[in-house]
Structure formats: structure tokens, C-alpha cells
Point group: D2
Chain length 106, copies 4
Amino acid sequence: MDFRELERIVVEFRDARSWKKYHTPKNLAISAVVELGELFEHFQWLSDEEILEAVKNPQKKEEVADEIADVIIYLVLLAHELGIDLDEAVGRKIRKNEAKYPLPGD
Amino acid sequence: MDFRELERIVVEFRDARSWKKYHTPKNLAISAVVELGELFEHFQWLSDEEILEAVKNPQKKEEVADEIADVIIYLVLLAHELGIDLDEAVGRKIRKNEAKYPLPGD
Amino acid sequence: MDFRELERIVVEFRDARSWKKYHTPKNLAISAVVELGELFEHFQWLSDEEILEAVKNPQKKEEVADEIADVIIYLVLLAHELGIDLDEAVGRKIRKNEAKYPLPGD
Amino acid sequence: MDFRELERIVVEFRDARSWKKYHTPKNLAISAVVELGELFEHFQWLSDEEILEAVKNPQKKEEVADEIADVIIYLVLLAHELGIDLDEAVGRKIRKNEAKYPLPGD
């Protein structure tokens, strides 16, 4: 699944439920924090080693994956509202990072 | 660009710079918050209408797009560390959402 | 209650339960995000006017107050771990803000 | 400094600059994330041990303290807008925590 297909699917899902009116930039920003908080709940009080161990459990891994997916879905919806093409944006940002942190041979 | 290609690109970028040692789950989680904060700086003190107006400026739009891209890149790196296939995870989460919020005819 | 009394109470609470070992800087930072996400859940999909209306309900108001308190408690615990005197820090930051944004007659 | 004095000071500061119009619940929530992101920037890529070492430097410590203070100031302003008495709220939340996690002898 690429960003354009993902955008199409989540916007279609949203419009079929008439939820567009709720999808203001700030509401979507706030929703991303809600989901990020739920993601972080899985990490709370665990060391990095314990987190890596915990996600070996398939159910736990799916719960964590669900939360990461939720944050991404809200970011895709936010980008949509702002008229941002994420496919282009992510590609451009990677090229900026490559220019900012060049490799010895570059 | 799909999630698997994006994962491949950002992991390759990271490994070429020997940054893997910094990419623990909690460091990547904290980095996602840093970038989210930078994204939210563009929204601070603006109404939703003013945000939508502001991103009509191509430079502003690119700045906002860069920050959304940065959050997504850290989430992709986090998913990678946790062994989560985002392509699968996002698809599954969308199907869960469809089951949770069925349409009248479903 | 001032910050020093609050710090004393929450550290005593923590030590009585032998939780100090969990209170690393990054764990407390992550916990602040968990609670902020729970706070934001009360604002999700509401307009500012609807939020102000919602907290007129005493139970809702207490739920929101609980989440703000939780974020503050984790910040107090984080400051404690870092050896930061919040009473001094907040006072100093207010003076910096006054210097940064002087009034016409200042 | 207690929460009521802090509230009085930051509201007075705000009103003297006619900034009340910007202080909607969602704007203050978003501002708290901006400052939390700036706080987390100081932790990014450091281990917990390195963070504790870094704040031994007085300048670094003051920078970190400033960011924690900023998050707290926005939470105090948010509580103010919602009519929440933080002194009461934090005290009540601590009593709830004591009831939720009783000590053996309690």
C-alpha cells in the first residue's frame, strides 16, 4: 500500500460516514496525540530490551502495530486536509536528509 | 512509495551512517514527539481556517509537509525495530475500523 | 500546594512503593505523553466552545482535571530526577518571558 | 510558588498583552505539545545515564528546566480556561492514587 492508495481508502471511509466536518487540522493533530499516547502506554515502565521482548508475543505485537497504524492514519488524513501529497513529501524529506547528512563518498 | 520501500530506504540511510545503535524503541518514540512538536508549532495560535490559508503558501506547505514526513519516518523506523510490517498493520487496522464502524448497508 | 510540597508528596508516594527504579528520565517523559493523550481524548472532535460547555458538567470537569494533574505529577517527578527545583525554574521562566515580551511601559 | 499564585501571575501576564483571544483550550493543548517536543529534544539519542550526566551542566539544566516550566505554564493556562482549580485537582488526584495503590499497612 502506498500513501496515495492509503489516502484514498481513509478519505473514502471518512466520507462514507460523513465525518469530514470533524476533520479540521487541529482535531486531526489532537487525534494523533491521543493515538501516540496509546502507543506509548505499551512502552511505559519497560526497558528497551523488555519492549523488544514483549512484541515477540503476536497479540502484543498486533496491539502495538494497531496504535502505530492509528497515528499514521491520522497523519494521512491531516496531510489530505492540508493538500499535502505525502508520497512526494516523504520522498523530498529523505532527499533533504541525504543532503544534510552526506556520506564520506558523496 | 509504499511502506516496504520506505522502510528499506530509511533503514539503508540509517545503516550507512551507523546510527542503528541510537534507534532503540524509546529513542524513536521520543523522536516522534520532537517532530510532532515541530509540526504543531506551525499550527500554534492559528484557527483551523488560518492553518488552511497558511498552507496555500508553497514554502509554508513544504515546511509543514517536512514535519509530517519526519514523524512518519520515525514511526517507520520504530515499526522496523519492533518487527512490524506497516503495510500489513495499516491494512489490518483499516479492516478493524470498517468492522467497528459498519455502514448501514454492510 | 507549592511545587516543593508536591515534589515531596509524590516522591514519598513513589518511594513507599519502591517505584524509583522505574522512574528514569525517559520513562517519565513517555508517561507524560500517555497522560497528555488521555487528556486530549476529552477534547477529540469537540470545538473549543463544546469543550468549554462539556467541562460545566462536574464529573467531566473532574475527569479532565485528573488528566492535567497526571501530566503535572509526571513532570514534577521528571524534574525531581533531573535535580531541577521547579519552584525556581517556573519563576525564572516567567521572568524570562517578561523580558522577551516587554509591555509598552516596561 | 503554589498553583493559585502561578495561575494569577500567568493570567495577568497574558491579559496585559491581550493574548486571551488566542488561549482557547485546543490552542493551549497544542502549545503544550510544542513545548514537550522541545523538552524531548534534550533527551533525543541519549541514554538515561547520559541525560542525568548532561543536566549536571548548569546551562543544560537550565535549558531543560525552562522547557518543563513552559509545559507547566501552558497546563496552568489550560486549567484556568476550563475553570479547573489545579491546587484542588492535584491534591485530589494524589488521594485517588493512594486509594488505587494502597500500602500493605493501609
